[in-house]
Point group: C2
Chain length 361, copies 2
Amino acid sequence: MINARLYALPSTGLFMPTTAHAIAAFAPDKPLGPHTIARRDPGPKDVAIEIQFCGICHSDIHFLRGEWGEIPYPAVAGHEIIGRVTAVGADVSKYAVGDTVGVGCLVDSCRSCPSCAEDLEQYCTNGSTGTYMGVDKHTGGPTYGGYSSSIVVDEDFVLRIPSNLDLAGAAPLLCAGITTFSPLKTWGVGAGSVVGVVGLGGLGHMGVKFAVAMGAEVVVFTTTPGKVADAKALGAHEVVISTDEEAMGRQAGRFDFILNTVAASHSLDPFVAALKRDGTMVLVGVPAEPHPSPSVMPLIFGRRRIAGSLIGGIKETQDMLDFCGEHNITSQIEKITRDDINTAHERVLKSDVKYRFVIVM
Amino acid sequence: MINARLYALPSTGLFMPTTAHAIAAFAPDKPLGPHTIARRDPGPKDVAIEIQFCGICHSDIHFLRGEWGEIPYPAVAGHEIIGRVTAVGADVSKYAVGDTVGVGCLVDSCRSCPSCAEDLEQYCTNGSTGTYMGVDKHTGGPTYGGYSSSIVVDEDFVLRIPSNLDLAGAAPLLCAGITTFSPLKTWGVGAGSVVGVVGLGGLGHMGVKFAVAMGAEVVVFTTTPGKVADAKALGAHEVVISTDEEAMGRQAGRFDFILNTVAASHSLDPFVAALKRDGTMVLVGVPAEPHPSPSVMPLIFGRRRIAGSLIGGIKETQDMLDFCGEHNITSQIEKITRDDINTAHERVLKSDVKYRFVIVM
């Protein structure tokens, strides 16, 4: 805290906006390249962060290619950010210069709606501000993500990173981590739960690690026989090849909870049937083409539920990071440099990564 | 209880199976007609019931026409049964001759699985026994429903009918009633809840009555402008014409819970969007053609849930009947005679009934 005061920035606007070296998209269909962006002059509640690592999320690609709606170019993605605090505003109380911190998918929200009041800023009724694809309330301009040398974020949206964690491996916790941790917690997964994780990618591998650490019996569903050993190495107790109808039939009525991380369109029915009575399957991926319509009968004849879940709030994200500190959980990653981003994006699209790329900025 | 003892039947099998006068289907595509069936000799735990009223459920028609799978003919439907106890077995403790009782969709279950242990016989893991479309554990033959002069049922599956209720109007409580009451209770509807009821038919009109009696703010969604006045007469606080996109848009994020009673295929998306964060829409109808696949985005961006629900257990059915007694709730019905059943079935298929036919046996 003392450091925070010593290095506190005046809130008089004397400081010029910082220049940051980013990797930006200039068009939906062109490779990314270097670009200089302005970061706002830190306000009294702001934390300026030198970015050390940024994970690559599939969402980054959708966003940068304009697949989620037209965007202003140049555009900068990245919402799995780890860095070091370089300056703090006068009223910042939680962070000091030198702290290792994280920034996830959100950098602001209305702070007054029922969801914000319940620490669920991701469901902010008035629209939370994305780390990218948002509008910076301070500047009125677009928000720029973590494919960048620095970022300035309100301290309320900055996370503390436990000191024992590998920092590059911690980056994906800020999106892939919280996206899987939050539904496991919301639906009460713990010791004795029987949990299925559908898909073993960036999200799924985190889901396995969390569910195992929470004490659940964890079964991975994958279409890829080559992933059986990987799933077990991550702690899964069992792996089911989901294209094997007979094996799937044997799962009927087994699961308290299924975390479905697969964004590709697929039949949900075998997984719904695998739920116990009152069990829930949560979808965290949005398919480009709709899933085949789920059959109503297995929902009714088991009071089963299909739900969605979106990342997590700031408080829960901190809880997740603290949980990772206690259990020494990070993401399995492949480190790359700025120059590798275009190649990495192509490989993400081919699911050719175990399990997350992290850019060393 | 004294009556029960006085009239108790010996369990020695001295009594011959009773003959009952039923209205049966003889083929999937032929009109129903009179038929004589045997009811089993009441065992020690059995209650023999002279049937006074039986509601007509859409399920009866699906079953009798073989639309839910091949069935043995002649077949007898009916699972909204009200009658008078005419005899009880030696070990029957809950009912006495002369009691007014009800029988719903179930006449037995395994009684040992986790669902049965939790009073949720409708989800019996080993398969509960339907009042029709089941196999009588005592005789090994098919179960015959309530389109019949009498029935013999284990006392554990017999319900007590509050004395203040109109008996014909009480018949549909045994299926339409519990099918709508159970999800409202399961999902915690009460004072202050904002509840939507989709469809105003046999199920929907009961859902409205229950939700209103539970203290909820109740909005009916219907495609039929002619039903607005009816819905309000039933107690609905508001009616939304669900084909009116603008009106539907105004419902976004409003509902804690939506009870969707429409079995016809329809888009679920506008109703999902009408849910609050963490809200649930429960489906109680099985469409012949699948609903269009629900969009994943509104599930994720609101942690919303789609679920199913099947009738209710015996304990909850009794709770529902007691609730009806307290609040003087029965179904709106049109009484018919045995001779009218074929016409009534045709009218059910055209939704030409307010809101349930009840056969005076």
